[in-house]
Symmetry: C2
Amino acid sequence: MTAVAGSANGHGRSRPTMRDVAARAGVSLKTVSRVVNGEAAIAPATMQRVNEAIEELGFLRNDLARSLRSKGGSRMIGLVIEDLSNPFYSGIAKGLEEEATARGYMVVIASSEEDAARERDIIGALCSRRVEGIVLVPAGKQHKYLQSEMDSGLKVVFVDRPPGRIGADTLLLDNRGASRTAVETLVDEGHRKIALVSDAMETYAVGERVRGYREALTRRGLKPNPRLECIGAHTAERAENAAEELLSRAHPTAIFCTNNRTAIGVVRAVVRARADVAIIGFDDFELADLLPIRIRVLRHDPTELGRQAGLTLFARIDGVTAPPARAVVTPELVWRGVEPG
Amino acid sequence: MTAVAGSANGHGRSRPTMRDVAARAGVSLKTVSRVVNGEAAIAPATMQRVNEAIEELGFLRNDLARSLRSKGGSRMIGLVIEDLSNPFYSGIAKGLEEEATARGYMVVIASSEEDAARERDIIGALCSRRVEGIVLVPAGKQHKYLQSEMDSGLKVVFVDRPPGRIGADTLLLDNRGASRTAVETLVDEGHRKIALVSDAMETYAVGERVRGYREALTRRGLKPNPRLECIGAHTAERAENAAEELLSRAHPTAIFCTNNRTAIGVVRAVVRARADVAIIGFDDFELADLLPIRIRVLRHDPTELGRQAGLTLFARIDGVTAPPARAVVTPELVWRGVEPG
DNA sequence: TTGTAAGCGTTATCAT
DNA sequence: ATGATAACGCTTACAA
């Protein structure tokens, strides 16, 4: 039976420290520190004894204590999103995690659930844990409270929505431009009655997409028609009902959907009605290529977005001091769905 | 211009500490600590001065330093999965995060990419940061190395695959039982030629599912036929090709798929061939209800799995000392797909 | 009600 | 090549 250095601590003995390792190896604490960090030159014999002690005790350096004293930070970053189970956000998370891992950083993830107060709490919790940076898909409209954190060295990158009342790096989709291009394409193909099925416009991206839809019509000399617009369909079911009604009353020949949830509802309605209607949706979706009809989507890669956000964030962490910049990613229009039967 | 307490630190001034707040409020460090933690009774006047100082300086308690001294842990847990962009794993992440947030814990997420060495590195990195527990979907087969961490108080819950050579709480799907039931159902419906399209059997869950398929046939007096089995289709494309070949050579009347990737490939092949074949797949999939044919899936809820894992983990963190337990969740067989045209 | 001193586990500084 | 000592920002005793 070997001697146990630490004292019992509730359940499980407490972790061995460098002091314990030093005692066991018969060297000073500082020598252990040097071995653990591969610092300076250590006599081979000393090194071996220390490493044996580390092995026997199962020592693992406490990085919390380390980052308390050392100039290096916590090697953690935060990611604040709305809902981890949404593939758009988990894609961002994946891309960011890749960049973080490559640099020895770990990612703390938390969901705001679209609640500005929760978002603020989460950011507080992250800062208390001294993350070095945060990638934020903001729910709130007002981010002045971040200023003091940023003054203290916190790096922040906004994704998908711009910051409110504060300067920070931002990574956006070209929501308006891509929507405009898509709807212009429909017009150019001969469509004159192009309906809109949309989620609520309060969301930044959705608002931009609706504006893009209307701009396209105007630019092509058509007048946006409120009877062809359904705005506020937050669920696939509501989008399905809305589309059903549009189909039976206004007889559009094409429908533009501002996100994939609404597109799903619209597809259901169109399939059910066996209607011959062109559909373009913003956002790609899983299995879109298996749909019983062909549709087009404005495809963008959330993982790439996350990677990009990571690059920007780590550039800041590495000391880049340029003024806050805004980058824009343009989605591309692609076909989805199997050949019609 | 107000006085700055901390010294400049690369970029951004360093964060104010309790000492800075104390100096500004004209009280002792300990008084600030008491105010921040809502401890004991503080004179209203003192309290106000301290809070003003906190406000003015933008002070935020350093939880890393806190957890170094206090008996409470880091209030962080780790989640190790294969790939965050896979909805199965992001679902688990979501469920776990809900439980964590409810308790004031944050979740550090990392992807192992199915690499046992990476898994080990990640767990080391998590332990270095002193997470109190880890939920692990293991890639490796051998987890003895976790023993010393668990002896030091780390709580671990295995999800979806059992631990190797170590005792720990485990949460599994009833892979074999659910598969057996599904295939027995097919037999009972009159099917005699039931094909199998499967991913590689090395994965624990897949192996179990294949065994369930074979058991069902045997129990119903049919002999598993290698010519009806395609094992090793790791991508949807390979599953699609495999299914195509099966359809043209062996003419099965039903196909059982061991995960959603293979099911997707099989659906493509069946739709393309316009074949009349019953399909049952393990795992639900996004938009399955929009498929151009009706199929059945063995549905299970990853979010619920994550929540359950969280409950188990936090019970341990809260001090439960029962021997390691194994829990099993049974998927249910449900229909998917729109009515056939 | 408030303050002092020690210590958590590590790194930084300065010796030897 | 190795060690002693202070310090990081906080909490835990223990006073006053």
